[in-house]
Symmetry: C2
Subunit: 116 residues, 2 copies
């Protein structure tokens, strides 16, 4: 229940980004969505990658590869899985690729898990 809120103070940039997610957190659609996101997170290397990106300790693909005890091609595969699930995004920056988390999807994941 929201308070009357007469004049909304200017939201900080972090909250102004994108509109709230109105999709339901349960039902068949939500179940499959949660399953897809959970599956994408269902590997230690991918969890690790997510953490690196969240804390911005790495962003460039090469740096991520350096942080993991895996071959470059394997890391690329994991990045692909995370990207296909919508959890991360890859921006091409010259010869490099800068990966970063997709905050919207991450919030969605938290909402879905929270609904359990």
């Amino acid at each position: 229940m929201a308070a009357p809120l007469k004049s909304i103070p200017p939201a900080p940039a972090d909250l102004r980004r994108d509109p709230p997610d109105v999709r339901p957190v349960e039902g068949t659609e939500a179940d499959e969505e949660l399953a897809t996101l959970a599956k994408a997170l269902g590997h230690p290397a991918r969890v690790r990658i997510m953490r690196l990106l969240v804390r911005r300790e790495a962003c460039i693909c090469g740096d991520i590869v350096d942080e993991l005890p895996l071959a470059q091609s394997t890391v690329s595969q994991h990045l692909k899985v995370l990207k296909e699930a919508g959890l991360i995004r890859g921006d091409i920056d010259g010869p490099r690729v800068c990966y970063c988390v997709e905050p919207r999807t991450l919030r969605r994941l938290k909402a879905l898990v929270g609904s359990l």
Copy 2:
């Protein structure tokens, strides 16, 4: 290492359930834990089962089977996956088995996802 604990005041019933989880929400251990839990949730049928159990719409294995469009043996496999991940528990009740969520693990999952 237990504290000296002279006289602990009687905790209210809600808090007496189980002790708070003191394990860290990040680090290699946590990464693997999150990966394991996420992997267990990484299938629509298992998400569905979790929801059924959380809302207590079903508890007996047979009822769960009736709710899913899958063979009994397949459902049993999914229940096994969830149980091995520690997300649910199965209490034998005569010839039946009553499954229910393991609140502690579910809270742990939420904490781990929340740490992202």
